[in-house]
Amino acid sequence: MKKMARIGVFVCHCGFNIAGVVDVKRVVEEIKKLPDVAFAADYKYMCSEPGQNLIRQAIKEHKLDGVVVAACSPSMHEVTFRKAAASAGVNPYRTEIANIREQVSWPHQNYPEEATLKAIEVIRTIIEKVRYDESLIPLGIPVIKKALVIGGGIAGLTVALDIANAGYPVILVEKGEELGGKVRRLSGLYINFNAPDGFLEEKIKAVMEHPNVTVLTRSEVKEVGGYVGNFIVKVETPSGEKAFDVGAIVVATGFDLYPLQALGEYGGGRYPDVITALEFERMLRDGLKRPSDGKEVKSVAFVQCAGSRDPQRHRPYCSKICCMYIAKQASLFKQKVPDGQALVFYIDIRSQGKKYEEFVQRAIVDYGVLYIRGKVARVYEEGGRVFVRGVDTLSGRPVEAEVDLAVLANAVVASPGTEELAKRLRVATDAFGFFQEAHPKLRPVESLTAGVFIAGAAQFPKDIPETIAQASGAAAKVLGLFAQRELIQEPTVAYVVEELCSGCGLCIEACPYEARALHPWKGIATVNVALCQGCGACAVVCPNKASRVRNFTPLQYLAMVEEIAR
C-alpha cells in the first residue's frame, strides 16, 4: 500500500529550452491523471517571481504536502524552489526537481515525441521519491572562530595577517627556525630588482607583534581530528605537544627545488660550480665567488627547465617561475659584472605577467644577456671550467659554452612532508604531490575537505604577486566561514537502523569522509553527521540495508524503479 500524499507538479517551459522540444501541455495532462497528484500546471519560467507565486498559491489552495518542479538541473534552482515551497508551508526536503532540461530537452532536441514521453517518465519517478521524502530540518554545526595556518612563508604570513586583522585568533605553525620562507633567501625581485628584506621584515614584525597571532616555530602538525568548524589539532613544539581547537586550516607549506643530485646529466651534485638558482640568489647577495676556488665569476650559463618539461626523465610540468627569475638573475649579474657574460638556455621564454615580457626584453637589449633556444644536453667540468653543451634549435647547430659557473633552474616540487601532512588533513594531493584544489577554475583556494584551504606554491608553483593574492583569497574563505553563526549542513546524511546493523564495519571502510565509526560498546556503526556528505557509499556496501541516507532510502529507490519499469 502506497503512502498517501498530495503532490503538486509544476512544469517549466524555460522559454523554448524545454517547451521547444517537450510538449509541456501534454505532460501536464498526463501527470494530472496520476494518483495523489493534487495539482499540475505549466508556466513559461517557473523560477521567475510569478512562477514561484504560482507554486506558493497552489500549495495553499490545494493543501499540497509535496512539490515536484520539472525544470532545469537542481544545481540551478533547487534552492530557489525549496525556498518558495517552504514559504508556503511545504518542508524544503519534500520539494524535488525533475530535471527535464539537461536530461531531456537538451540531449533529445531532434526527438520531440520521445522527449515528451521521457519527461513524463522522469516526473513520475520523482513523484514517487517525493511521496516517501521525510520532512527534514537542516543541521546546525557550531564554528570555532580560530584558524590554524601551516607554513610561515610569504603565503602563510599573508593569510595569518588578513585573518588576525579581521579580529580572529590565528595559530601559525612553521617547521623552520624563523618566518619568511623562501623569500628570505632572495636577492632582488623581478621586475624592479628591489630586495624583499624591508617588506618581509615589516610583515614578520606585524605577525609577531599581532595580539591575535600565536607563532610556533620549529613546530609541526602531528595530528588532525574533527571536521569543519571543529578541528582538533596536535602540534609538536620544542616545548612539547600542544593541542588546539580550530575552525579552519590553511595549508601554506610552499615548495622545494628538485634535488641537484637527481640531475646527473647536468653534473648536479658532482661539480661544485654547478649550482641551483637559490644558491645563486645567495651569491648575488653575498658576492659572486666561485664555490670551487673562490675566484670571481665572470661568465655564467643559466640552464632553464632543469628537470621541468621533461616527462621522460623528470617532471612533465612547467615550473612557471624560472623564466622570470633567471632573466632577473642574469640582469642582476650583468649589473654587478658589466663585462661578464650571461647565457640563458631556454625552450620557450614564458614571461606571462604584467610587464614581464618587457622585463625579459630589457635583459636582452639593455643588459646584453644572450638567450639561446635549446635544451642543454650535458654539463661537465674540465680543468676548472664548466662546459655546457646543447643544440641551438634556431640555427640547428650544436653549441658548447665554456663558463665559470652553471646555474640550474631546478624544477619546483612539493615541499618535503607534504604527503604525510595531506594524509593527516585528509586532503588530496595531485600526481606530483602538490595539494589538490577543489575545482581548478572556480574553487582554486579550497581543498575538497570542508574547512581546509590552500595558499601559495603548496598548490602549484606561483610567483610572489600570485601567491599573495591567492593567500588573501584563502583568508577570505576563512573569514566567510567565521562570519557564520553556525554552519548549515544538509540533513540528507546517512543514518543507521540500529536493529539491522551487525557491526561488520564495511561502511567505515567505504566512507571517504571518515564520518563512520563503530560505537564503543553497542557494537553497531555510527554516523558523524557533521562529516557525512550524504554520498551513499555506506548505503551501497551495507549487506543488511542498515546504513541509509535520508530521503534516498531503498524504499524510495524501489518505488522509483518500479515506476520506470511499469
Binding site: 625581485l189 624583499p196 573569514l479 566567510g480
Partner: protein
C-alpha cells in the same frame, strides 16, 4: 559572493544588461574542458538570488565621493525601456520583435539578436533591454510589436536614465578586459577578410549554445573549414606596431581551440603559429602535449607576416623560425589570438575613482609584488583582468583575495 556569504551587503554595478562577463561567451575551458556556462551559470544564478547582493546591471558608476568606510557612489542606470519590476522574463517580446540585428558584442558578429534582447539564454537578471539604435519604433516611429505582445505591459518607451545613490565602506574594481579590435591589425586584413576572426568569435562558433549550435562553420559561406590556422600573439609582444606585453592566456586557449576543432572536424587540420609556447600552470604543459600528440595539432614556431584572400581561401604567410624557411598555407579559416587590452571605459572610471593606470590603461596595483590587490587608494581594491591579462583560476583566486581584504576591513569595524 565571498563578501555576501560572510553576511555583508554587496552592491554590484555591471555595464551590460546581465552579469557573467566574458566567461559566458566561452565554450569550454582549459585544461579540464569543463563547459563554461555549466560551471558559471549556477554561480550567476546564486548571485542573482542572494539576499545580500543588490544588482545594478546596465549601469555604470557616475561618481564616487568620500573615503574608506564611508564612500558615496552615484550609479547611472541606462534606460532598458522595459519595466523590470513587472517583466517576468517570458521572452515573448524577443520572439515577436521583427528587427534582427547582428550581435557585435556578445556573439562577436557571428550571430544575430533582436532589437529587444537579453545577452544569453540564462541571463541574470533574465530581463530584456531595447536597443534604441535598431528598434523600429525608436528609429522610424512605428512597430510597437513588443508592447502589443507583452503579457504584463512592461514595455516603457519613455523610460529615462536614472541615478541611484548607495553608501559603501569599500570598493572592488573588477572591470576586466577587451580584445584589441581586428581593425587595428592591418597586417592581418584589418577586419576586412570575413574568414579571419578573433578568438572570442571562435569561442561562439564552438559554443553549443552559440549561433551555430557548436558547428564550426566559417562566416563567408557557412562551410565547414578543413584547414584552420591559429595565429598567436596577434597584436601582443609586438612593441613596434602594437602591444609590447604578452597577453598571457592565448597560448592555452589556442591549444584548446585547436583541440576542440579537431574533436568536431576529425579530418580537419589545425595549425598554430607561435613564438613561445607559454603553458605555465597546473596541468597546462600536459594539456599542450595532449594537443600535439593525441589531437595532432601542428605547431609552427614563427610569426605570421601577412594574411590575404585568394580564391576563397585565406593565405597565411610566415616564417618557420626552426627551419628558417618561408611557409605559405591556404587556410579556410584563420583565428587570431588578439591582444588583451583594458576595457575602454577603464580610463574614465579610474579618473572618477582616483586610481592610477599604467601606460596601456590597465589599473595599477599599489605594489606589483607585495600589494597586488590594493589600488593605492585606501578602501579600493582590484580584482581580475582589469590590472592585466589573467586566466580564470588566477582571476578567481585574486577576486577572493580582494574580498578577503574587504572582509578584514569590515571585521575591524565590527
Amino acid at each position: 559572493m565571498d563578501i555576501a556569504n560572510a553576511g555583508y551587503e554587496v552592491v554590484v554595478v555591471e555595464r551590460l544588461p546581465s552579469i557573467g562577463g566574458h566567461m559566458l561567451q566561452l565554450s569550454e575551458t582549459f585544461p579540464t574542458l569543463d563547459c563554461s556556462q555549466c560551471i558559471l551559470t549556477p554561480r550567476t544564478v546564486e548571485v542573482g538570488r542572494h539576499e545580500k547582493i543588490k544588482l545594478y546591471t546596465y549601469s555604470e558608476v557616475e561618481s564616487l565621493e568620500g573615503e574608506v568606510g564611508n564612500f558615496r557612489v552615484r550609479i547611472r542606470r541606462y534606460p532598458s525601456y522595459v519595466n523590470w519590476d513587472i517583466c517576468t522574463g517570458c521572452g515573448v517580446c524577443q520572439e515577436k520583435c521583427p528587427k534582427r540585428v547582428i550581435s557585435t558584442d556578445f556573439e562577436r558578429g557571428i550571430g544575430k539578436r533582436k532589437a529587444i534582447y537579453t545577452l544569453s539564454p540564462q541571463a541574470v537578471p533574465n530581463k530584456p533591454v531595447i536597443d534604441p539604435e535598431n528598434c523600429l519604433y525608436f528609429t522610424q516611429g512605428k512597430c510597437r510589436v513588443c508592447e502589443r505582445f507583452c503579457p504584463v505591459g512592461a514595455i516603457d518607451y519613455n523610460q529615462k536614465e536614472r541615478i541611484f545613490e548607495e553608501e559603501v565602506g569599500a570598493v572592488i574594481v573588477a572591470t576586466g578586459y577587451e580584445l584589441l579590435p581586428l581593425t587595428e591589425l592591418g597586417e592581418y586584413g584589418a577586419g576586412t577578410i570575413p574568414d579571419v576572426i578573433d578568438s572570442l568569435a571562435f569561442e561562439r562558433l564552438l559554443s553549443a549554445s552559440g549561433p551555430t549550435a557548436g558547428k564550426i562553420l566559417r562566416p563567408s559561406d557557412g562551410k565547414e573549414p578543413k584547414v584552420v590556422v591559429f595565429v598567436q600573439c596577434a597584436g601582443s609582444r609586438d612593441p613596434e606596431r602594437h602591444m609590447p606585453y604578452c597577453s598571457k592566456i592565448c597560448c592555452m586557449y589556442t591549444a584548446k581551440h585547436a583541440m576542440l576543432y579537431k574533436h568536431r572536424v576529425h579530418d580537419g587540420q589545425a595549425i598554430i603559429f607561435y613564438i613561445d609556447i607559454r603553458s605555465a600552470g597546473k596541468g597546462y604543459e600536459e594539456f599542450i602535449h595532449r594537443a600535439v600528440t593525441e589531437d595532432r595539432v601542428l605547431y609552427i614556431r614563427g610569426k605570421v607576416a601577412r594574411l590575404y584572400q585568394e580564391d576563397g581561401k585565406v593565405v597565411v604567410r610566415g616564417v618557420d623560425t626552426l627551419s628558417g624557411r618561408q611557409v605559405e598555407i591556404a587556410a579556410d579559416l584563420v583565428v587570431l589570438a588578439v591582444a588583451m587590452v583594458p576595457r575602454p571605459e577603464t580610463r574614465a572610471l579610474a579618473e572618477k575613482l582616483g586610481l592610477r593606470l599604467d601606460e596601456h590603461g590597465f589599473l595599477e596595483e599599489e605594489d606589483r609584488n607585495f600589494a597586488p590587490l590594493e589600488s593605492g587608494r585606501p578602501g579600493i581594491f582590484l580584482a581580475g583582468a582589469g590590472t592585466g591579462p589573467k586566466d580564470i583560476p588566477e582571476t578567481v583566486s585574486q577576486a577572493s583575495g580582494a574580498a578577503g581584504k574587504v572582509l578584514s576591513l569590515f571585521s575591524q569595524w565590527g
